[in-house]
């Protein structure tokens, strides 16, 4: 592997926990939003850990976190933004050019 190319990967996504968050959110249908506890259950992360990573993704504009109410109970709904989806696609294609010889800049 060409170690020198790794820094070109988007640092916001290129961390195990955040990558998993982004992949999970990318599997939802367009326009769908997921509640915080359900996302936590799918990813098997602690609440604290998940909120730290969601905040970083939110700061980068990759996810949107909205607080709403369902009846009397507050709910936090999350989804990947168009910017986040694009960043993820670019991240994946960068990874692919790294492993395919001649696929990217040598």
């Amino acid at each position: 592997m060409v170690e020198g190319e790794l820094p070109e990967l988007d640092p916001v996504i290129h961390a195990q926990a955040r990558l998993r968050v982004v992949v999970a959110l990318s599997q939802l249908g367009p326009g769908d939003r997921i509640a915080f506890p359900r996302l936590q259950e799918i990813l098997r992360m602690t609440p604290g850990n998940l909120s730290v990573h969601l905040r970083k993704l939110e700061d980068a504009g990759y996810v949107e976190v909205a607080k709403t109410h369902r009846g009397r109970t507050p709910a936090t709904l999350t989804h990947l933004t168009a910017k986040g989806r694009l960043a993820f696609e670019e991240y994946v294609s960068t990874l692919k050019t790294m492993i395919e010889p001649g696929g990217g800049e040598s």
Binding site: M1, H14, Q16, V23, A24, A35, P37, R38, I99
Partner: protein
């Protein structure tokens, strides 16, 4: 690997791609219902209740296995209700705490099943008086199975699901063939081809998402 657990990265892109694939599979498995749980209850319902119907109301009015005449229809009603409730719960569980277009699509699709079954049940029971048993079984069996075939075709259109389209087309065609063959044979065709088709659909869907 980097220093902290929170910020751990990868040494190599292959590892990252593998993680992406694993998480995709994991998420898909959790937000979509297990195809076996969605198809097998219906497959078993058809296999058992249309099987009983064939044995009790065989071709040319023959009784292949003697049993009270209410058994096949009662089995069908009870098993259909059980399968409907079970698949409703399974489908609802995988969509819980996710809101947006896809849960609305799922709900509207579920309602179209109920609407179709309710309408046909009311229409058929209104015209059932005075019909001979053989015509009754074709009307109810053929009509309900036709509805199921069309609903799977429509579901395939909603989710762009080729396998579901094949299932809907298979059920529709075998149902027509069975109706043409006549009472008795229709029940056999639906039990074996229809019920079998649903069992295969569950198996194929499960194998594909493993």
């Amino acid at each position: 690997m980097a220093s902290t657990e929170h910020e751990s990265t990868f040494d190599d892109p292959v590892q990252a791609l593998r993680l992406i694939e694993d998480e995709r599979t994991n998420t898909r498995r959790q937000v979509t219902p297990d195809p076996r749980l969605m198809y097998w209850p219906w497959g078993l319902t058809w296999l058992i209740s249309f099987g009983l119907s064939f044995l009790r109301y065989g071709p040319d009015g023959r009784i292949l296995v003697s049993m009270p005449e209410w058994v096949p229809l009662t089995a069908l009603t009870v098993l259909l209700a059980a399968a409907g409730i079970f698949t409703g719960i399974v489908g609802g569980r995988s969509a819980r705490h996710i809101e947006g277009p896809s849960s609305r699509q799922g709900m509207m699709y579920g309602i179209s099943w109920s609407a179709g079954f309710t309408a046909l049940a009311i229409i058929f029971s209104r015209v059932s008086d005075g019909l001979p048993d053989s015509a009754l079984s074709l009307l109810w069996g053929g009509g309900m199975v036709a509805l199921v075939g069309v609903l799977y075709l429509a579901g395939a259109a909603v989710w762009d699901d080729r396998d579901m389209f094949v299932l809907g087309a298979w059920i529709s065609l075998t149902n027509i063939a069975g109706v043409i063959c006549g009472p008795g044979w229709h029940a056999l065709v639906v039990a074996v081809a229809g019920g079998g088709g649903l069992l295969v659909a569950g198996l194929v869907g499960w194998l594909q998402r493993r």
